[in-house]
């Protein structure tokens, strides 16, 4: 332990050097989302700039700080000044920013979004006072975007591994006691109290026990786990060690999607560093605790997020769930007692062990303690990764943090494909496990998808069912056959061939699948359909009776036309049309050949006449069917 304490002291000194920097530091957010927005190019451009101008400055790659709609983000810290953050940077603005900050020493205020000081700086507001960040409480995400995840010293300087050191000074039972007092529930979706699962495993006799980190984030629309691993890798690994110590495991496995190559790379780097620092292996920090961590890459199967399927997959089999009991905590991987915890649960543990259960109890509400991260996506102004206390209302999340919707709000889908669509009347619902369940939805892992009037709920329900149907492992009939049948019905409805009886069939099927399926995938698969049937019944009826898709999404029910009176013949839609369906000479109204039109919406999006999108091209839903 003393050896690590020495390392911490030197890590803190190193960090102080960064804080009180003598040379400029450029931080660039280079998690997957930042990279997708062009961060890597910015890094090489910055390095080039530094070299060309012969200045001494450092470039540090950091993780994702959350407001993805502002990506790519570049921060610059000049000696003696607070760190200034610039958003939506491209190569051109980057050069202006670098010139202004690095050469002239003044912030380029035009692109600056916030500073990391406590008050405004040169008219730039504090970063955490931004509307998207102010209502958030950052516990799990505390280091994300601030430190270099590939530098263990930076994590140590942030009191990293302090939670583990505290844990190792207690008995494993006492660690479980702290987690019990903290009241944290599994963040993977079901919300089972973490300490209960651990106690069962701890009390089960067995030479070998396993701790698995479930990073098989297969939910379309969710990226919390990916961001956390990419941005604060060591926090998750420290959580694994604490959990492993508490349950008496000596082997830890990270089961992670192969689709997340950067996260896997960072895990490998972090594990190597931990070994160098004596944090893995035998007699860790002079205690009796032995622990090793290995990485298992998933091979692309959504069902493997389910505990028993995940275990089968690690054992080298088809990832099919089995019936429980026995629960994995008693008989799991290779028949040994096994605990599977979600990335976010594990990422929270170091904070609880570092600051104590009482501190954690200050967040959230009775029965729903602490914070939860969400990915906020869809038709919302400010998309990104957020963390709020449990009990925050949907309204606060969508409007205060997310900045609201551009077009009128229609629905919010919580919990991904296993969750439900909630309508406007639920906006004041407090987000906690029980409230969401009572509304027919679930917390899930935390994907929040916002929909406006341009989203067709029937289409969305079909989308989710189609997804779960494809991902069903096929072991049990209700899930395999039932979801398929539901998709067929929904297909018909979106093609305008539905009949009124379909709605009852959908409900009965949905209820049966929920009751009769073996695992969580089937048990929750009908939720999107059942909730939309409950809250948006009218839209189903419009599709069936009137052949009308009010959101103009269902392609068989819509057609595109050029409004000859409004068309000026500007040719922009002709250029935009990928199939050559629109033709006509300049300055004359164009023609749209319906047989060639693939309804891709390109012409509608590009039509700018009179500055209103699609004014001269309208999308009409089909006339009432006879």
């Amino acid at each position: 332990m003393n050896k690590l304490k020495k390392k911490i002291t030197s890590a803190k000194k190193k960090w102080e050097g960064i804080e009180n920097n003598k040379e400029p530091i450029v931080y660039i957010g280079a998690a997957s989302c930042g990279r997708a927005a062009g961060a890597l190019e910015l890094i090489s451009e910055t390095e080039k700039f530094i070299k060309e101008n012969n200045i001494s400055a450092r470039v540090i790659q950091v993780g994702c700080i959350g407001p993805c709609y502002l990506e790519p983000l570049v921060d610059i810290k000049m000696p003696g000044q607070p760190r200034v953050s610039y958003s939506n940077v491209n190569v051109r603005t980057l050069n202006n920013i670098l010139k202004s900050q690095l050469l002239e020493g003044v912030p380029f205020t035009k692109a600056a979004i916030g500073n990391f000081g406590s008050s405004a700086f040169n008219g730039i507001p504090p970063f955490y006072e931004l509307p998207m960040l102010k209502p958030q409480v950052r516990i799990v995400l505390r280091n994300c975007g601030l430190i270099d995840p590939e530098d263990i010293d930076q994590y140590l300087a942030m009191e990293g591994y302090q939670g583990l050191m505290n844990a190792l000074e207690m008995s494993p039972e006492d660690v479980i006691g702290v987690v019990r007092q903290a009241g944290i529930r599994g963040r993977g979706g079901a919300g089972f109290p973490t300490f209960k699962k651990w106690t069962v495993c701890r009390n089960t006799p067995g030479e070998q026990k396993y701790l698995i980190c479930n990073a098989d984030e297969g939910d379309p629309g969710a990226f919390m786990n990916r961001s956390l691993i990419e941005s604060d890798t060591h926090a998750v690994l420290e959580g694994m060690m604490i959990a492993g110590y508490a349950i008496g495991a000596s082997k830890g496995i990270v089961y992670i999607r192969a689709e997340y190559p950067l996260a896997i790379e960072r895990l490998k780097t972090a594990i190597k560093q931990m070994k160098e620092y004596g944090l893995l292996g035998k007699n860790i920090l002079g205690s009796t605790f032995n622990f090793d961590i290995t990485i298992k890459e998933g091979a692309g199967a959504f069902v493997c997020g389910e505990e028993t399927a995940l275990i089968a997959s690690i054992e080298g089999k088809r990832g099919m769930p089995r019936s429980r009991p026995p629960f994995p905590a008693i008989s799991g991987l290779f028949g040994c007692p096994t605990i599977i915890n979600n990335v976010e649960t594990l990422g929270t543990l170091p904070n609880i062990l570092r600051n104590g259960a009482e501190w954690y109890n200050r967040f959230g509400k009775e029965g729903n303690r602490g914070t939860k991260t969400f990915s906020l996506v869809g038709k919302i102004r400010r998309t990104g990764l957020i963390e709020v206390q449990l009990g925050t209302t949907l309204r606060e999340i969508i409007f205060d943090i997310g900045g609201g919707v551009q077009k009128p709000f229609k629905a919010i889908q919580t919990g991904g494909p296993s969750g439900g669509c909630l309508s406007e009347e639920f906006l004041d619902l407090a987000v906690d496990y029980e409230s969401l369940a009572s509304a027919g939805s679930i917390m899930g892992s935390g994907g929040l998808i916002i929909m406006d009037e341009d989203t067709c709920v029937v289409d969305v329900a079909k989308y989710f069912l189609d997804f779960t149907q494809k991902e069903s492992c096929g072991k049990c009939i209700p899930c395999r056959v039932g979801t398929r049948h539901m998709v067929e019905i929904l297909e018909r409805i979106t093609h305008g061939e539905g009949v009124p009886e379909d709605l009852l069939t959908l409900r009965t099927l949905g209820d049966t699948i929920k009751k009769g399926s073996l695992c969580g995938l089937g048990q929750t698969a009908p939720n999107p359909v059942l909730t939309t049937l409950r809250y948006f019944r009218n839209e189903y009826l419009e599709h069936i009776k009137d052949g009308l898709c009010r959101a103009v999404v269902c392609k068989d029910l819509i057609e595109y036309r050029v409004i000859k009176e409004k068309c000026t013949g500007c040719q922009s839609c002709v250029k935009a049309c990928p199939t050559g369906a629109i033709s006509g000479p300049r300055s004359e109204p164009h023609n749209l050949d319906k047989t060639k039109c693939i309804k891709c919406r390109s012409c509608y999006e590009i039509c700018r006449f009179e500055a209103i999108a699609g004014d001269a091209i309208v999308i009409r839903t089909a006339e009432k069917r006879s």
């Binding site: 379309p220 890459e297 080298g316 889908q413 994907g447 990928p578 693939i598």
Partner: protein
């Protein structure tokens, strides 16, 4: 090929739970799971070829035909769906004249769909080889394809 396979085997223990990592390594090496490699794996791990096909066909990651020079993967996650990901896929199927899951006859492109790439905030997203392109439109994508030979 046997030598290459031998080198791969050296990294893994002779245990059935090593099957998926071995398959992943084989696919990284050859681009797909070749029939011969299945034979070798079967002998090495002492499990039947049947069982290997059973496992490998269960997971979306594994492919059994040679890949093209570039892989185009369209993300069809929820956020991408809501923002028009399916239209991008349709357009690609049309432009490349193949359906999802196939390779163009000139072996230039593979076309695949993925459940989610985790870049939801920048949807819709398309991945070509290792690069992820965000906020895609039908036109931008068609321009982009021209850069790949």
């Amino acid at each position: 090929m046997p030598e290459v396979i031998e080198v791969i085997f050296e990294k893994y223990q002779r245990k059935p739970d090593q099957l998926i990592p071995i398959l992943q390594n084989v696919q990284r090496e050859f681009g797909y799971i070749t029939p011969e490699s299945v034979k070798h794996i079967s002998r090495y791990l002492r499990i039947s070829e049947n069982q290997i096909f059973g496992v490998s066909s269960f997971y979306a990651q594994f492919r059994f035909t040679a890949p093209g020079r570039h892989s185009v993967r369209v993300c069809l996650g929820t956020a991408c769906h809501v923002r028009g990901g399916a239209t991008l896929l349709e357009m690609l199927e049309r432009e490349l004249e193949i359906v999802c899951g196939e390779t163009t006859p000139d072996r230039r492109f593979d076309l695949e769909r993925v459940a989610c790439l985790g870049c939801c905030a920048l949807s819709p997203v398309v991945q070509i080889d290792a690069d992820i392109y965000s906020r895609m439109t039908v036109n931008k994508l068609s321009e982009l394809l021209k850069q790949y030979e």
